[in-house]
Symmetry: C2
Subunit: 544 residues, 2 copies
């Protein structure tokens, strides 16, 4: 099944002269690049083969093959680039057998463990178009219509969040000094960008001080009279905030993680207290972060209450809605996001619940001039007053991913996204209900949106669970069982559920609970698929 | 030619009941997502249309349409997401007329002004395959074979740079504690990542101090007894280093830009002096940056001499080879990179001279454990000891771009890349020679690699240029002329050259010279195309 590298023939026949070799390479490169019929034919041939790969891949119900990681990795141990171009057909065969075959079927209706899903069919042809167009969104000279198209798509989502007036959007949608949002590679860069803007705006130029951008963090804190800087949010904040605190020189110890309640929402009183403590310690609070859809369990913080706190404290309010942002499409569920419209910045991921390819993060700003705080210029491009999108961005060159975003918003529309969100939450409730009726499982929390935490309970312990009489040792046993169960299920590859560790206070101390974690976002997942996944776990558990 | 939004029909017929509307939306979403024959048919229809767009786009010789930016942007002023899904065919028509039509033909052989180019034909089908597979490279549970495939491709380039032993690669290529390289979205994130690792490694945990990661920059500098931190490099460093210095809390004033000589290479003596000054001021030097291919002019620093300095000073040596790195493929030109193998970290962009789609930056590390300094974990994923690539990375979720990189290295091969690099440099020399023979132009510097700076000289001033008798006012006139020339050329859209501003010392002071900037990397560009571009400029100049 696996084709080794040795079987992959290079054009390694000998050439009589250096010139003959050079001529052959020239011919081959011409065949790869030229806009000739020969190249078109080659591209069509490749397209035919890769289309077959895609079709087979997309129609698979299994989550994965059961190939062992250690075996698999041994197939990728070549550290030498082939001297001559590899034959295209052989390479594609190799790719099919070694890479495509052993990739994860993230679109499978029974792969319900991570924030990846089946995608709408239009993204695949658009991916080819985007690659053909090869626009570089960093500047207008390499992305003309696309720069404006990107701004339009971002404005649409901005409006969904903030709902300012027609007049506001007329003024800012295509104004080169305004930044309604920034399209980045993912939620992590979006979160970092938001905090970077917040930090630089809080420690900007004043009197003789030139601002943190030029003079650095230590000088800035010194000038403004702070002993340090902090970021405050729920203990369930995504680990991108650790990256931000580290990268920005704040230190992860000053990323203050406030306890969450049993519904996975930040404890508001504890949050207030954290603010007061930072003040008492004379720390600048760069931002308070609200989470709209924790990675762990989908919990949404009480955004309106956090908004009150940030308003009173005059602190930047950032909402990480990378996962949960699209709840806003749902008339039934958008109330869970109430308060998001008061955020100074909001992160949403396109590749999560907007059902777009991976590589689309976004950060939105209430104040269209907030991103000025990170503006940079360069003489060969990125000129002041230009439409270059790269002026106010962490990244430089970046692809025309706006094409997907614009298409998604138009081809799916408000009602389409509403349907997708509502369905995911409905199916999650179905799964939660099923779990409650099955003696094998324990639901660990009522789902807030479309993530579900539960665990398998081995037969001898079920009564104790029901009576809430588990000892710490029992709990440890259940943990070990669930970790094994999840690993075996992943290894077998028929279905997939992820796992996480929740910390809970029981027996008067913090104990870890290993949870099975379902993410119900795939539109292809039916109630039958959910039953199949649960039954698969029961079957595996019976054999442990 | 342009289809307005009003002409783009939504499925806006009225539904008698809410339920009927809901059922219709359900049907439409099912059609977009389901793996049914109906969806396959729709996808094929879309594919056919977008393939036509691509073909037409790729076969265009013109750099661009001559549509005016102000007119174009007025077509992108919609801030409302359509309520119901837009009809697919209408949307594609809209896309073709409004976005594709007015995008930049970066593959045109006469678009020789930026670091974008025609791409090999296999990247387009692969883009579709990558999107179909929808792997998330952040973790092994969503990117199984691809995680190992990515490591293999990175190891291949690592070996090309560092050329360590078979034994070294056997040990590190697939070892989960080793990081030979990190695949990121672009050169900017690559540079930031390199400096982040360097900073954290220099200010790591020691005795009771927990390291900069946890305690922050101010505490770290304090603990280690520094008055501040600095990054040193050429004045021609890419503006991503400004972003890094700002973001990391160093401050851009401590990004020390050392003057370059007339060949656009950092002045080594001035660099030594900058190091001594930092020492005298008790500043930690986080890294010294060597540039291998400046964005402005393609100049390559004296890397071996910088390596000597960094070695003596025990400072991290980073080489930004985002553009120039692939010179290493060329037997004829790789000597220009001599010393790169002594770098602690190296940035190379896949979407520049590896001819891959935009969105592939890479940073390589001499020490496979260097990236430990930025390692993060999260309980729901990114577990210690796992193969999760996201553990040591600035970004989180990211697409399977490794597919392109792996394919490029195999399908183009060492000799293929060598050919492409050599041809670019050969054509640049041709263009330089042509410019020298044409009285209309002045070559501003002998090209180092495949970037070329020159300018148009209006007839009355040519003799003064030849005699080197230009006054400052004359120079100002030439500047204005070239800026206008470049703008008009861009506006007309037949051909394209970019522009930049060089600062030169003349008349005993710093004066700006506006230069036309050619980038000769497109394999489709012929000598005839180069002549066409130059003649286009002459023709435009005659009409100014």
């Amino acid at each position: 099944m696996t084709l080794s590298k040795q079987e992959m023939p290079n054009q390694n026949y000998l050439f009589e002269t250096e010139q003959a070799l050079h001529d052959d390479i020239k011919k081959q490169m011409n065949r790869l690049f030229a806009s000739s019929s020969q190249t078109t034919f080659l591209e069509e041939q490749i397209d035919e083969i890769t289309n077959k790969f895609s079709e087979e891949f997309l129609s698979s119900l299994d989550a994965n093959t059961h190939i062992d990681l250690d075996y698999l990795l041994s197939n990728f141990s070549e550290s030498q680039i082939p001297v001559q171009p590899t034959n295209v057909e052989s390479y594609l065969k190799y790719l099919g057998n070694n890479v495509v075959a052993h990739s994860i079927h993230t679109s499978s209706p029974q792969f319900i463990g991570h924030m990846t899903s089946a995608l709408p069919c239009f993204v695949r042809p658009l991916a080819k178009l985007m690659t053909a167009m090869n626009q570089n969104a960093v500047k207008i000279e390499t992305a003309k219509a696309l720069s404006f198209c990107e701004r339009e798509a971002l404005a649409m989502l901005h409006r969904l969040i903030y709902n300012f007036s027609d007049n506001f959007y007329d003024q800012h949608i295509q104004h080169n000094l305004s930044t309604l949002g920034i399209l980045v590679s993912g939620g992590t860069v979006a979160n970092i960008t938001a905090l970077w803007c917040a930090r630089n705006a809080a420690l900007g130029p004043k009197d003789e001080f030139l601002g943190i951008e030029k003079e650095g963090l230590t000088a800035a804190l010194d000038f403004y009279g702070y002993k340090g800087a902090a970021i405050i949010g729920s203990e369930l904040m995504h680990f991108s905030f650790d990256k931000a605190a580290d990268l920005m020189g704040i230190g992860t110890h000053r990323l203050i993680r406030v306890p969450a309640d049993c519904n996975n929402r930040v404890n508001i009183q504890a949050l207030r207290q954290a603010v007061a403590e930072c003040r008492a310690q004379n720390l600048l609070i760069i931002a308070i972060v609200g989470v709209a859809g924790t990675t762990d369990s989908g919990g949404v913080d009480y955004l309106a209450e956090i908004a009150d706190i940030t308003q009173e404290a005059h602190v930047h309010f950032h909402v990480d809605a990378a996962w949960g942002g699209p709840l806003i499409f749902s008339q039934q569920h958008r109330h869970k996001l109430a308060g998001i419209e008061r955020a100074d910045s909001v992160t949403i991921d396109g590749h999560k619940q907007l059902y777009l390819p991976i590589g689309i993060g976004m950060v939105f700003f209430r104040d269209p001039y907030k991103a000025e705080a990170i503006e940079k210029q360069a003489s060969y491009t990125m000129r002041k007053g230009s439409f270059d999108l790269g002026k106010r961005a962490l990244e430089g060159s970046r692809p025309g991913m706006a094409l997907f975003l614009h298409a998604g918003l138009n081809l799916i529309g408000l009602k389409g996204y509403e349907f997708l969100i509502d369905e995911g939450i409905r199916k999650t409730q179905y799964m939660a209900d099923r779990i409650c009726t099955m003696p094998e499982f324990e639901l660990l929390a009522e789902p807030d949106t479309n993530l579900l935490l539960y665990r398998y309970v081995p037969e001898p312990l079920r009564e104790l669970v029901a009576k809430k009489q588990l000892t710490e040792t029992d709990n440890q046993l259940i943990n070990e069982f669930n970790e094994r169960l999840q690993k075996i299920q992943r290894q077998i590859g028929r279905t997939f559920i992820s796992r996480t560790t929740k910390t809970t206070t029981r027996f008067g101390k913090e104990i870890p609970i290993i949870a099975l974690r379902a993410v119900l976002a795939n539109p292809l997942t039916t109630e039958e698929d959910i039953d199949t996944v649960l039954n698969d776990q029961i079957q595996i558990a019976a054999e442990i």
